[in-house]
Symmetry: C2
Subunit: 327 residues, 2 copies
């Protein structure tokens, strides 16, 4: 666990790590400045828990707009130390709520890609109306410009991850396009279709924007530009809608009384949209389990990101991806 | 008015045209099969209204997946007749709720582009949290693959339209990207930035997905692939959220009672999201006012699309775009 990454580090990261160690009964290594981590640990009852501190003297800041060069300059930052530990087999997974560009750079530089993978992808779980209540979207921002082969590999990795880590058997894989028909799509989408049809996964065709929340696919493949717009637009639109409903209710005394009665329903909707349930998204394609969570994560999200990391390790998703590439 | 286009034509298109003729006091020409239109007109009191029928014997169907070739084959379809009337000055504007690909093909073939415009763009009004309550998004689907010059021209046309037709003075123009920082973006976005900075409009930089509903720009410029995903995702997500809230409320008797009290607040939110207020989006870049509405439009949406067409004619938005190109 990168103890130093995220908007509320180290308080929240250490809290979440303690929570995970207690709930899941395994060791959580805390990477960062020892004095600071020790102070945070004192706030918790950690009797019987295994929470060793791994020293790292530097930090990639959340608002660092050039994290790739910072990762090169700060050789003893928590992200570099985490990536090196993974590389050397000193840990099974690396989890961070820090600067995602920094996590990508550190993983590429010090851990490397799975042999044969052209580009790693950021991924996330996305709430939708399906049997499972979510789908899996990638790439959400690692590669603004993609080639067909990248997208094919995203499909391969996303399918393996969704089945092994998220527990959806034979997941339906689709590519985002501007129309459901096969003739639709950018040149990139059209050039990718033949590859996707030939892949060792359950490819179901194109999905439009509206089909993502409607749950028409379990694995939603797209380039990092479109995927990033999809995720951030969804966040922004959900917030705008819920804020607008709240303010319209507050403007009306009777509606206000009604809303008190309706509150449990809103709580249920909020839980459905709660990114914290999955804690973080995998950085897929690097040669080890790396989970990157939201910068504004709280301790519960951190705990769940560590849970997801364990599932990724236990299901050997990296091995599954490797064997899929060989296929 | 294309009397034959849309999921509920000709009933709804004729009804909307009658409504517009009555409310706005000008002539609405009804293009389509005369017998059918006449039957529909009989359902309304049209005393004193000017609603001439312009014969067109063929129709581009809504589910036609190759409308471009249908437009070539069906020389007497309502869309071709409408585009030809515009070209020959026999009407001031053409409004359709029909197949958007058909409208695009008919306009390109029989009306043509504004001299100097490389590609026309579909546009729409998008609800957001700004002073005006909406922004203007283009291209939402005419061009899946774009070049920097196209996006520059979309910005120019969008700015003119937003100021002249939608009434937002000196609108803030932004380009969609995967990050607010200048260094972010696909190659297309990065290559377009210098052009946008030099344009005769109020360019304010990059916006992320979340910034669109947050109202950080008045004119949101993007390629037709991303724009299409943005619009359709927004539709789908809003529907999923509101449906989920409804079903969670219905599952709880107390919440149900509360929702009755809170209903006026929900109605206000629904009105905000109601695409019918603007009726349709302009097809910008063709050499005349063409408004394309949602296939599932009702009569109120048709009326408003005709209203928007009038505003576009009266504000001479085509002339403004032409002079902007010369600048």
């Amino acid at each position: 666990m990168d103890a130093m990454g995220g908007d509320h580090a180290p308080e929240i990261t250490v809290h979440g790590a303690v929570w995970a160690a207690r709930d899941f009964g395994f060791q959580v290594q805390l990477i960062g400045k020892p004095d600071i981590i020790r102070l945070e640990l004192q706030k918790h009852n950690i009797t019987g828990l295994s929470l060793p501190i791994i020293p790292a003297s530097e930090v990639i800041e959340m608002d660092d707009h050039n994290p790739a060069s910072s990762v090169k300059a700060k050789k003893d930052c928590s992200m570099v130390v985490g990536a090196q530990m993974l590389k050397q087999g000193e840990t099974s997974a690396f989890v961070t709520m820090g600067n995602s560009g920094g996590a990508l750079a550190a993983a590429l530089l010090h851990l490397g890609r799975i042999r044969g993978i052209r580009r790693p992808a950021f991924s996330t779980v996305y709430p939708c109306v399906s049997e499972h209540g979510f789908c899996f979207v990638l790439d959400i921002g690692a590669n603004a410009d993609c080639k067909p082969e990248y997208l094919y590999q995203f499909a391969l990795m996303g399918s393996a991850y969704t089945e092994r880590v998220l527990g959806i058997m034979n997941p339906r894989v689709a590519i985002v396009s501007n129309g459901e028909e096969e003739g639709k799509g950018s040149m990139l989408v059209q050039d990718t279709l033949p590859l996707l049809k030939s892949g060792p996964f359950n490819f179901v065709g194109n999905v439009e924007g509206k089909d993502i929340p409607a749950g028409l696919a379990d694995v939603v493949v797209t380039d990092g530009f479109t995927g990033n717009v999809v995720i951030k637009l969804s966040e922004g639109l959900a917030k705008m809608l819920l804020d607008t409903i709240k303010s319209e209710i507050k403007a009306r005394p009777l509606a206000m009384a009604g809303a008190v009665l309706a509150k449990p329903a809103f709580t249920a909707v909020g839980k459905m949209l709660d990114y914290r349930e999955f804690g973080g998204g995998a950085l897929l394609g690097v040669n080890g389990v790396v989970i990157v969570g939201h910068g504004r994560s709280d301790a519960y999200a951190v705990r769940n990101a560590i849970r997801i990391a364990r599932q990724a390790v236990e299901s050997d998703v990296i091995g599954v991806i490797k064997s899929g590439l060989g296929a």
